[in-house]
């Protein structure tokens, strides 16, 4: 009962103090707002980069062309070899008849040209389409497959795509690093701003200590105040995330520059990001005020 009473009082005191020290609260809130906006943008960028790197990676296939006139037995051998390669995730076999059919379906021109070739004449080859587990080792795996008997040619994501994936991977790592760095910077900024607020209330804390308030009782209202500041500070960043990303997505119609770079669909992405922003705001506010108030609790 007593704990609830104290908690209720702490919440009341925290709200009162936000209002009473309005200008200082506003300083903390703006500080949280600005950094959270940058964090939000970094999160959105980071997730999108991650997303389209994955999309591209998913499309990365090694096409294994087999020798002309290969027997079923040899095809089975190649399949066994493929199975034994560690980085191979999945593969599908496509016979030259199937390739021909597919090509005919895809284009009118191919249709008429291919119509006149029978199986023996056909320049098309039986193929395996191989997906790998780790795209970064794509070329190494391709080279391994090339050495397998009865394999004629191996084709995989040309150099540019390869480089793009590596580039995106590093961009992803960098944006992630930026998010972490920003969160740390925010914590420091908020600690300092809240320290200002608290140093203005040193007197109150010293009186609390004199009349026998426990450290817990002294800390709780400040921590709740930090949470409130965090919540207020995340309102604008959340609005920017929700409406800003929606507008951004609509403006580019879901793709950035080309069909290749697909943006993450706004729902539920914006809600998830908003929740992350809110949580960062709350946690950062709490950590900030808890560590700021600790300075004044030492007897």
């Amino acid at each position: 009962m007593k704990l609830f009473r104290m908690l209720g009082r702490s919440i009341r005191d925290a709200i009162k103090s936000v209002i009473r020290n309005f200008s200082l609260s506003l300083a903390s809130i703006s500080c949280i707002t600005i950094t959270l906006i940058i964090v939000a943008i970094a999160i959105i960028a980071s997730y999108n980069v991650q997303n389209f790197t994955k999309e591209i990676e998913r499309d990365m296939t090694i096409v294994v062309f087999l020798e002309n006139g290969i027997e079923q037995e040899d095809i089975d051998d190649v399949e066994k070899e493929l199975k034994s390669i560690k980085n191979v995730d999945k593969y599908t076999f496509q016979s030259k008849q199937e390739v021909k059919k597919q090509m005919q379906e895809e284009s009118e021109v191919f249709n008429t040209v291919l119509e006149n070739w029978d199986d023996d004449e056909s320049p098309l080859k039986d193929t395996f389409q191989v997906k790998v587990k780790n795209v970064e080792q794509l070329s190494a795996t391709a080279k391994k497959i090339e050495k397998v008997d009865h394999v004629s040619v191996v084709r995989y994501g040309s150099g540019m795509v390869d480089k793009m994936v590596t580039a995106f991977n590093s961009v992803e790592k960098i944006t992630f690093g930026i998010v972490i760095a920003l969160v740390v910077v925010t914590v420091f900024l908020i600690i300092n701003t809240i320290k200002l607020t608290i140093s203005a209330r040193r007197r109150e804390i010293s009186i609390m200590r004199l009349v026998g308030a426990s450290n817990f009782t002294i800390k709780t209202p400040f921590i709740i105040e930090g949470m409130i500041l965090g919540i207020f500070g995340s309102i604008v960043p959340i609005l920017i995330t929700m409406y800003g990303y929606l507008a951004f997505y609509k403006h580019f119609e879901g793709h950035l520059y080309s069909q290749l770079i697909e943006l993450i669909k706004p729902e539920p992405f914006i809600y998830q990001t908003s929740i992350i922003i809110l949580l960062i705001g709350i946690i950062v506010g709490m950590i900030g005020s808890a560590s700021a108030v600790r300075k004044y609790l030492k007897v």
Binding site: K2, R203, E204, I207, R209, L210, V211, G212, V299
Partner: protein, 229 residues
């Protein structure tokens, strides 16, 4: 019975200054004691050790059976709840009313609202400020502010009231008013009062126990003493 027992206490500050040398004292429950001495005599240090703002370097300070020197920082609040403290500069919260300032002491320890109300009004009545409950500190005179501080110190019915130069900022007339309030508290509530002061007139008029400190040494401990330099 002794409420306070001080045994072989020495206090040396970090800067190397020794404020108290080998102090031995016993103060009875319900007594009214003045601690006198010039600046740097160690009277404030003695008061600070009693509410554990300072720790003795050596020896024991026992307040109400609790060894204050051994008390951990985290547990200091347990001691503070048993005593009231009044300072020269009142230490009131300027943005809170008289009522809120006094109630603050009880709110901090999680007391119930109706009990807070009864106790706060009783304490304000005891110091003669029942008609000023809704005023803010800056609307009161110095003497009245000090009485609010006293009300806050006694609202929790402490066994011990520590006063560090409570009349230091007041003129002789207001000072005597404060002394009257403190004497009433001592008599009516049976609260032990220890008051550090360098106000000769007050000490001589009140005829209470007097502890005289000089350069950190106990010079005299007299029943019904006067101010002797």
């Amino acid at each position: 019975m002794d409420l306070i027992r001080i045994k072989n206490v020495e206090k040396k500050y970090r800067n190397g200054v020794t404020a108290i040398y080998d102090l031995n004292l016993a103060i009875e429950k319900g007594s009214f004691v003045f601690v006198i001495g010039g600046s740097g005599s160690g009277k404030s240090t003695l008061i600070k050790m009693l509410y554990r703002e300072e720790k003795p370097t050596k020896g024991q300070v026992i307040v109400g059976g609790l060894d204050v020197a051994k008390l951990k920082n985290k547990k200091v609040y347990k001691l503070r709840r048993k005593l009231g403290i009044v300072f020269q500069d009142y230490r009131l919260l300027p943005k809170q009313t008289v009522y809120e300032n006094v109630a603050f002491a009880l709110e901090c320890i999680g007391e119930k609202k109706d009990i807070i109300r009864t106790k706060v009004l009783k304490a304000l009545e005891d110091v003669g400020l029942k008609n000023k409950v809704h005023n803010y500190p800056d609307q009161l005179s110095g003497g009245e502010q000090q009485r609010v501080a006293i009300a806050r110190a006694i609202v929790n019915d402490p066994k011990l009231l520590l006063c560090d130069e409570p009349t230091g900022n007041l003129d002789p007339e207001k000072s005597m008013e404060i002394m009257k309030v403190l004497e009433d508290i001592n008599k009516m509530r049976g609260t032990t009062i220890i008051m550090a002061t360098h106000d000769k007139e007050i000490v001589n008029k009140m005829k209470k126990q007097v502890i005289t400190l000089k350069d950190g040494h106990l010079v005299k401990f007299k029943q019904k003493g006067t101010y002797v330099e």
